[in-house]
């Protein structure tokens, strides 16, 4: 399908030869992608999606345009893009399987750390729906359907609403608009399609599901939003895929639940702040590394570096400890690892004693971990702490001993014998219950130890472990050799890994396994267990495959499995050091240079805002630093309509993005607010374009950029008033903040005015952090770093405050983090 003549005319009249709003000065440097993208490939994509013929034709035509168009010679350096190496289609996959149940607790913790009041937390839990997608999705979806709102993935919308789709698709941004719009038109996949009927207002921002629903985040997603007369909608762009557990010292967190500025443990056993959580699409081999202790296995891509000692050719199967100790572990790409190589298990080194943990308290907590439970007694309206023991005489002694201990600490407790003749110790002491909850949590699947406990001196942890094993553990003593094998079973995955860590601090590398659900006997009791994690270790082991050096254990790889993977992978960037622990094992950041290719993200977003409607589109872009982010975004606003782009760019290697608004009829209003942060090796070339095509229209652009550590940020904008567009008001302001002498800031605004009855004002300032401002804040007791951070935050505040709450928090933390260690 060709672009209608009327649209072509609008584009031509308003932009003329300035297709991007900016002139291409030089001849093309680009060579057509013969090896990469072919018509056959485009056909295959269209075929697989079972698209109608017109869409296939549209794609093929777009491909032709793409091949003809030269690479833009202005803006950023695009020479790193190799069209041959890009995956043009990512097949939608099942939503990653996750254990989301324990995530909300983390979120609550985060809220707590951030000091948000209770009432607000509840409110946030409602809007911060991205983690509990299913529930919110359904209730929201129902609400939306009732109002007649269409909110679908773009692919599904094409199948379900072919007519309305065809009416609007490619009308705002035709394929020939620019090279990357053409590319997107040829290979687009995913994205959102939103239609809001007349007069319907959607209160909640439509963002929730896209944070985890990887299906909608392709490299070439296509979003189309139509707000019919008098309606309003706010759409937020974001993503969040799934992964492995990473250690943050006292507990293990799903990698996707890690937030920037959280503390995690790295290969030196110390805590460091997470700088960024990065995401990229990946298609290829995924390796599963299985070390001694099968449950510690983890998956990563072949190029992801892992801390390792490779087995030398002349090493015997039983490696001499001396040789092993003399070798320094190095980071080696996972693809080069072999069975028998030693990977490094690291335990956190931070130790801090806490006097409240007396031997008695640790004993109680140990038993609580194994046997305890907390429930609400309805008739008494009190929380009750219960320890369940068996019915044997020895168990009775244990129960009685426990009562004595509890009483020694000044709390009350009683012993009862329940129906099955099991001994049970019950206490209603609020103080004691709080201690158990704070330091051990509750529920068999969720029990975990607090940070305070994980950092206690080893001697104290030993007491806890000893008492824990009294309940959940069992001991086998070999007759021929004085070794002692100790096993413990727990339903809590986190606890299992925490116990492994404690045992490692004691000097032994424990094994974690997960037998099938079965009946088993532990401590003379028959237990039906479901997903019991077995932590197992041997004292005085005769032969040991695992060697220890300080807080590191060299653990041989038992097996490496490879599987095909097609979806998103992600990666943490950690401050100061570039590693983190996955299931206790040190892996390196998958930093940009180790990637074999750069990724390309080239989306197209088209928005139509009809009479009296309002659309807000918010983006928080935090792609990894190897992504070329070349996005075309444009909105048409009709009579009395309002379009608002809110655009925040922190990630990517190069961003070239200029959200545009065409004000097509009188009374329309357009606003673009943007924030860009360019750090080392980043170029943020962002801006805005506003075309006044009708009289009595107004617009506003606020652009703020921060450059740091040799980063470069540019504002590139266009403000155009066409002939006949009388009575125009427009205000553009660009502020740039340079944080050091190596960074760069540019401003390239263009104003093309063809009418006299206008009031146009543009202003731009570039500044550094003022000595006086710093001095003032430091005189008030802030350190230089805090002061600088406060100034940057104040600078960005006008933009940040427009964001939905949880995104504002995220962005604040990101900025704060970028600022740490930046002064001096």
């Amino acid at each position: 399908m060709s672009v209608p003549v009327s649209t072509q005319k609008i584009i031509k009249n308003t932009l003329g030869e300035y297709k991007f709003g900016f002139k291409t000065r030089n001849k093309a440097v680009f060579k057509t992608a013969q090896g990469g993208l072919t018509a056959a490939m485009v056909k295959a994509i269209s075929n697989r999606k079972k698209e109608p013929k017109w869409m296939l034709d549209y794609r093929l035509k777009a491909l032709e345009i793409f091949e003809k168009k030269p690479m833009p010679a202005w803006g950023g350096d695009l020479s790193g893009i190799d069209f041959k190496k890009i995956h043009y289609y990512l097949q939608p996959q099942d939503r990653p399987k996750n254990n989301w149940e324990d995530v909300p607790k983390d979120i609550k913790d985060t809220f707590e750390k951030l000091g948000i009041p209770e009432a607000e937390r509840k409110f946030l839990a409602g809007t911060g729906a991205q983690f509990e997608s299913e529930v919110i999705y359904h209730s929201l979806q129902k609400e939306l359907t009732k109002k007649g709102v269409v909110f679908e993935s773009t692919d599904i919308a094409l199948q379900k609403y072919p007519e309305i789709f065809r009416q609007y698709f490619g009308k705002v941004i035709p394929a020939h608009d620019n090279k990357f719009a053409a590319l997107n038109s040829a290979v687009w996949s995913g994205g959102s399609f939103i239609y809001v009927p007349k007069g319907v207002h959607i209160e909640l921002p439509l963002q929730a599901y896209f944070r985890i629903n990887a299906e909608n985040m392709g490299q070439f997603e296509r979003t189309l939003i139509i707000a019919d007369e008098g309606s309003s909608v706010h759409y937020v762009e974001g993503c969040l895929p799934a992964g492995e557990l990473v250690s943050n010292g006292h507990k293990f967190t799903n990698i996707e639940a890690v937030k920037t500025s959280d503390l995690i443990v790295t290969d030196d056993g110390k805590h460091h702040k997470v700088k960024a959580l990065m995401t990229r699409p990946y298609k290829g081999t995924m390796l599963k590394i299985i070390p001694v202790s099968r449950e510690n296995s983890f998956r990563l891509t072949t190029e992801h570096p892992v801390l390792c000692i490779q087995r030398k050719i002349n090493w015997l199967p039983e490696v001499s400890t001396k040789k092993l100790m003399a070798t320094k572990p190095e980071y080696i790409p996972a693809g080069k690892l072999k069975k028998g190589d030693f990977i490094v298990y690291t335990t956190p080194t931070k130790t801090e004693d806490n006097e409240i943990f007396t031997e008695d308290l640790l004993k109680i907590l140990g038993l609580y971990l194994a046997e305890g439970s907390i429930s609400f007694n309805k008739s008494l309206k009190l929380n009750a702490l219960a320890f369940s023991f068996g019915k044997k005489e020895s168990e009775k002694n244990m129960a009685e001993d426990l009562i004595l201990t509890i009483k020694k600490l000044g709390h009350k407790a009683s012993i009862t014998k329940s129906k099955g003749l099991y001994y049970t110790v019950i206490s209603y002491s609020k103080n004691l219950i709080d201690l158990c909850l704070t330091h051990c949590d509750k529920g068999a699947h969720h029990k975990k130890l607090s940070q305070t406990i994980m950092e206690l001196p080893v001697e104290k942890q030993k007491i806890l472990l000893k008492n824990y094993l009294k309940g959940d553990g069992s001991v086998y003593i070999r007759k021929d050799y004085p070794s002692k094998m100790i096993r413990a079973g727990t339903a809590s995955k986190t606890l299992a890994f925490q116990l492994q860590e404690i045992i490692a601090r004691m000097g032994i590398y424990a094994n974690i396994s997960l037998p099938e659900a079965s009946q088993d006997v532990i401590g003379n009791r028959i237990i039906t267990r479901q997903d019991q994690y077995i932590v197992e270790y041997t004292e005085n082991k005769k032969f040991n495959e695992v060697r220890r050096k300080d807080n590191n254990y060299f653990v041989p790889i038992k097996e490496i499995k490879s599987e095909n993977y097609n979806g998103f992978v992600f990666n943490l960037e950690v401050k100061e050091t570039n590693s983190y622990l996955v299931k206790g094992f040190a892996v390196h950041n998958c930093t940009a240079p180790t990637y074999s290719t750069n990724s390309l993200h080239s989306a197209v977003v088209e928005i139509i805002v009809k009479k009296g409607a309002r659309v807000q589109y918010t983006t928080i872009q935090n792609w990894s630093h190897n992504v070329y982010n070349l996005v075309t975004k444009r909105a048409f606003a009709y009579r009395d309509a309002e379009m608002f782009w809110l655009d925040c760019n922190l990630g990517s290697k190069l961003t070239m993005k200029y959200p545009a608004i065409f004000l097509m009829e009188p009374g329309a209003r357009g606003e673009v607010q943007s924030l860009a942060f360019a750090n080392k090796n980043q170029h943020q070339d962002a801006g805005a374009k506003i075309i006044h095509n009708a009289p009595n229209t107004t617009s506003k652009i606020v652009a703020k950029s921060i450059s740091k550590g040799s980063g470069r940020s540019s504002y590139r904008g266009l403000l155009k008033v066409t002939k006949g567009a009388r009575n125009i008001k427009s205000h553009v302001s660009c502020d740039a903040l340079l944080l050091d002498g190596a960074s760069r800031s540019d401003t390239y605004p263009t104003m093309k005015i063809e009418e006299s009855e206008v009031a146009i004002a543009h202003e731009a300032t570039v500044s550094k952090i003022g000595e006086e401002q710093l001095f003032y804040l430091m005189s008030r007791g802030l350190t230089e770093e805090e002061a600088a951070s406060a100034i940057v935050n104040g600078f960005a505040k006008p933009i940040i405050k427009q964001l939905p709450m949880e995104y504002a928090l995220e962005l604040n933390r990101l900025l704060e983090l970028e600022m740490t260690g930046s002064v001096g």
Binding site: A736, D746, T750, M751, I753, E754, E757, V758, H762
Partner: protein, 208 residues
């Protein structure tokens, strides 16, 4: 003023002008005749402690075109450049202006500012204004501003209430707009001659 040099011209020299050490250069362009090819005027600051005050007055009539580009290249520390451009556009005249401030690495304590103000006095006038900044060091003060608009109706109304007819009121306001920066020229004779030029140029203009 020490080491002050003033240049007033109505021709754009096709060369790079170097502002020298400890020099203060006043450069005034009076332009009421257009041209076709884009003219570029470059000021280079290779030596430290140099200052430039640049003023351009553009009066566009009939189908006159003013395709102009100024570039300020700061290569040394402690340099200052202040650009002010005022254009009044009548009839079908057109201004196409690009003003670039380039501050290269290690040019510390640079202070520069560029302002381009345009009065659109006819529906058929056109303006294209691109004030750019390229900054590669942090110890700077740099900014630019651009305004494009028409004569304030309230001011005209005020003058009319004082007995001026509409046209005289507007001409008075345009004159004031164009002359407001002249007071910074530290030479009364030059000021006077520029005012005369402006008055002469504004004679017989059409305002709608």
């Amino acid at each position: 003023m020490q080491n002050y040099k003033l240049i007033i011209t109505n021709k754009i020299p096709p060369k790079t002008i170097r502002v020298k050490r400890d020099q203060t250069l006043g450069y005034v362009l009076f332009l009421d005749k257009g041209w076709h090819e884009k003219q570029r005027l470059t000021f280079e600051f290779k030596e430290e402690n140099a200052t430039l005050h640049f003023l351009a007055i553009m009066i566009g009539k009939n189908k006159e075109k003013f395709p102009l580009e100024t570039v300020s290249v700061h290569k040394n520390r402690n340099t200052r450049a202040y650009y002010t451009l005022k254009s009044a556009l009548f009839d079908e005249s057109e201004v196409d202006y690009t003003g670039n401030l380039k501050i290269e690495k290690n040019s510390h304590s640079t202070d520069c500012y560029l302002a381009h103000h345009t009065l659109m006095l006819s529906k058929n006038a056109k303006t294209n204004s691109v004030p750019c900044l390229e900054i590669e060091t942090d110890d700077v003060k740099a900014g630019h501003a651009a305004t494009i608009g028409n004569i304030d109706e309230e001011l005209t109304f005020y003058l009319e209430s004082r007995g001026l007819d509409k046209k005289s009121a507007k001409i008075l306001l345009i004159k004031n707009f164009l002359e407001s920066e002249l007071k910074h020229i530290p030479d009364e004779k030059s000021q006077k001659s520029l005012i005369e030029k402006i008055e002469k140029s504004l004679k017989g203009v059409k305002i709608n």
